[in-house]
Amino acid sequence: MEKKKLTIHLKVWRQKDADSKGKFVSYTVNDVNPDMSFLEMLDVLNEELIKKDEEPIEFDNDCREGICGMCGSVINGTAHGPQSGMTTCDVRMRMFKDGETIVVEPFRARAFPVIKDLAVDRSALDRIMSKGGYTSVRTGGVPEALSLPVPKPNADEAMDMAACIGCGACVAACPNASAALFVGAKVSHLALLPQGRPEAARRVERMVAQMDEEGFGACSNHGECEAVCPKEISITAIGRMRREYLRAMFK
């Protein structure tokens, strides 16, 4: 059975480079198959633009299956689009109505300057990770895996926290552009495991200091981050980060 094709109107943020001013530009895409992904719909539009000698819309993406964290746009006002628990590349056109107008913008935050159109610079997140998103072990200098039993509930919760894909949607959604959920997820992942305990205090101090330095705002418990997080990282991550931080301060 042929599924009914959709007509979609788009208002897309176009910006030549970091120094230029951007603006919304309107496009219409016809014959959109509802099974298409949102990015595939943009591919189709880009093909049309190329044929018309116009510049295609730049947007970051790679795995197109919700795991690499490279994609990310604000779709109709929500980071990663209308449905919770999804990345931009997971969004399917069946989630929109025929004739609907969709507004597409880059993730916006002081710490995420726009590079071009929908692509932004999220390297601040890497710099935070470089301050402690690891255990300081060297290759080879480690014990046999069985020497570190980990209770299943801890392993499971650590995995929940480790599922963060570093997309930055939490930052984009936060009114303060805070990266607390992202940092909290990594701090929690390692705090929950015996391997991570020896340098727990140093880790949280250094990561939080870098987060502040990068120009991310402070967390004031809005909870928008949790709502948009494609991996449904729980806001308890932020609570745990705070506890770890206090513990480090009073050490």
């Binding site: 690499c68 069985l146 992942h189």
Partner: protein, 636 residues
């Protein structure tokens, strides 16, 4: 040129240890005088860059994505093998070695595969110490599962995100070295050429993907860990930016290409749906632990799967391979899926799919257990297809997934260009003609953590390395050549987009250099590919400019390289008239339709030397089996 694999002597189990003892060392204070370029930040690249940084080398590390953590290794779902024998099912290094070399249909080097099995256990130790949250049982110890081609449970996993967690472990180690100043990181860079000076790899040329500038990087050695070339087929399970350009440029500078026709087509992917499709999605092989593969007995049976009674279903894998059943290796599972679909028994709208059914597993273990095991995969399936696999069987079909072929390397992982090392999926690898599940992660990390740190020291300590500067003619030439290539691509302004060409190339490869190959088809493919390539350079339309972010131009450069590589894949497939592993030549099959090897004539690695576009010379590395006897693979 004579290919020297540098496989050391001695008994299989002693080769690596003996070899390590003989390798030269670089003294601690000298290490910081050596610089190494690592291209790629996947499991292989990140683990290598981090380990070399820890040792004190000056490392330059580049990747295409905006962050090293996004390399395509992140997408691996199912797991990583190791010979720990934690399940007490009589696993051992020997068995892991044996399964892997047999799984590869005896087209890989004994010594390499054995080494891989030997270091597999250290990888798990390393990952655990990094905080990789592998699945645990209530006692706090590890849960393991089994993968295709094995009768033991040796696969470690972190939910459905094993690659992600292993990569984040390696990424963490890498970022620690970045913080300590030992590794300098250059994301959003694409290597577009290798620079060879006095016969040695001394640097690369990369395009800055934000500014479009061409940048030169110099070093004492270059490591490529740039992943596989499955995207040549347009539709595959690989990421959009996966490419062959780095290895292809190196190939054109003298690195031989090993077994380019060995491509893995994975049996459990979500079937194609429409023309707009940009990639295919893998459903982890681990699903075959509990899912049963079937098609209706009758041709063209259009009933709802749940209405087809047991006796009218054909569980064809269980029927044909009673010992391994649904857990046969990937090449066997894929080929059988194609066969039943070609017979007209395929299911779904297009008839190009088979069922993967969890009904019985849900009945036996309960929905909760199945949810725990595969919850995220079922969700992913639902997001894409809109169907609930707890209620209706999944529909799956094979898709291009992994390339066993790649740049030829010796036992030290060095290519035929001195000073150029190749790791992970980018090399021609330890997987022969077919890779077993959960062994690519193992290989990438083995190469990066435990092999290259030792073998590269031997090269650096034992080689006369002249001083080079950026003014060297070789750098200038590379830059000029790359610039004129990009300018040419932008100036054609033809009628067909890069994507249209890419899709056409993909169709040729999928139909004629895919799951089943024959002489006539391959000859046609060679012709069609070279025609398409010619048309490309006269009729492609590329948008925008060079000196800015321009993903269309990036893709244009990659497709240009795929159009050359694809021809070599077809040439290699044509010359190898035997069937082996994923390379199935219709002319060479057993009466039951299984791949029939020809050990007498083809027990070698085909290593291709580039002469000029469309022309290669083949060199052979003979494969000697001293410790196992190649037999006709049987999974019955």
């Amino acid at each position: 040129m004579k290919l020297d694999s540098k496989v050391p002597g001695g008994h299989l189990s002693e080769k690596w240890d003996n070899h390590k003892d003989a390798l030269k060392l670089v003294s601690p204070k000298n290490k910081r005088h050596f610089s190494v370029i690592v291209v790629g930040t996947g499991l292989a690249g990140a683990s290598a860059a981090a380990s070399l940084g820890e040792l004190g080398y000056k490392v330059i590390n580049l990747c295409i994505q905006d962050s090293p953590r996004r390399a395509h290794s992140i997408a691996a779902q199912g797991g990583i093998n190791a010979a720990k024998n934690y399940q007490n099912d009589n696993d051992s290094i020997w068995r892991l070695f044996y399964d892997t070399i047999k799984g590869g249909d005896y087209r890989s080097r004994e010594a390499n595969v054995y080494r891989l099995a030997q270091v597999s256990n250290a990888i798990i130790d390393q990952a655990v110490a990094q905080g990789v949250p592998f699945a645990r049982e209530y006692g706090g110890y590890f849960a393991n599962r089994s993968f295709g081609g094995a009768l033991v449970s040796r696969t470690f996993y972190a939910r459905g995100q094993t690659g992600q967690q292993l990569l984040l472990g390696a990424y963490g180690a890498l970022m620690r070295q970045v913080d300590e100043g030992n590794v300098r990181l250059f994301p959003r860079r694409e290597m577009v050429d290798l620079v060879v000076i006095n016969g040695k790899a001394r640097g690369i040329l990369a395009r800055n993907l934000i500014t479009g500038e061409l940048e030169t990087y110099m070093a004492d050695a270059v490591i490529l860990a740039t992943g596989g070339y499955g995207v040549a087929y347009f539709l595959s399970t690989n990421a959009i930016n996966s490419n062959a350009s780095a290895v292809w440029r190196a190939h054109k500078k003298g690195a031989f290409f090993g077994n380019p026709c060995f491509v893995q087509i994975h049996p459990t992917c979500i079937p194609r749906s429409g023309d707009y499709q940009s990639k295919l999605t893998l459903m982890s092989e681990s699903l075959r632990n509990d899912g049963r593969v079937w098609v209706p007995l009758k041709k063209g049976d259009k009933r709802h799967p749940n209405d087809i009674p047991e006796e009218e279903r054909d569980y064809y894998l269980e029927r044909k391979y009673p010992t391994f059943g649904n857990m046969v290796p990937r090449d066997v599972a894929s080929r059988n899926a194609k066969m039943v679909c070609d017979e007209g028994r395929g299911v779904g709208e297009t008839g190009m799919a088979v069922y993967l059914d969890f009904r019985d597993a849900i009945r036996d273990f309960g929905r909760k257990t199945i949810e725990e095991r595969y919850g995220n995969l079922f969700e992913m399936y639902k997001d894409i297809t809109g169907e609930d696999a707890y209620e209706v069987p999944m529909r799956i079909y094979p898709a291009v997934h992994y390339t066993m072929g790649g740049l030829w390397v010796d036992y030290n992982l060095m290519s035929t260009v001195p000073g150029l090392f190749v790791l992970g999926e980018a090399n021609f690898s330890d997987h022969g003609a077919n890779r077993l599940g959960a062994s690519a992660l193992m290989q990438g990390l083995a190469d990066g953590y435990f092999i290259i740190p030792y073998t590269i020291a031997d090269y650096l300590a034992g080689t006369q390395l002249e001083k080079v500067t950026e003014d060297n003619e070789a750098f200038k030439e590379a830059k000029e050549e790359a610039r004129s290539r990009y300018e040419k691509l932008l100036s054609v302004k033809g009628n067909k987009t890069v994507r249209e060409f890419h899709r056409e190339l993909g169709d040729i490869l999928w139909n004629k250099v895919g799951m089943s190959r024959n002489e006539q088809g391959l000859k046609e493919a060679i012709e069609e590919i070279s025609k398409l390539r010619e048309e490309y350079w006269n009729n492609v339309r590329v948008a925008g400019e060079m000196n800015t972010m321009n993903k269309n131009l990036e893709m244009a450069g990659r497709v240009a390289d795929f159009l050359e590589l694809a021809e070599l894949m077809a040439i290699d497939a044509l010359h190898r008239t035997e069937s082996c592993g994923g390379h199935f030549r219709e002319e060479s099959q057993t009466p039951e339709g299984e791949a029939l090897r020809d050990d007498e004539n083809f027990s070698y690695v085909a290593a291709w030397e580039f002469k000029e576009t469309g022309k290669w010379e083949m060199h052979k590395e003979d494969l000697k089996f001293e410790f196992v006897t190649p037999t006709q693979r049987s999974y019955k």
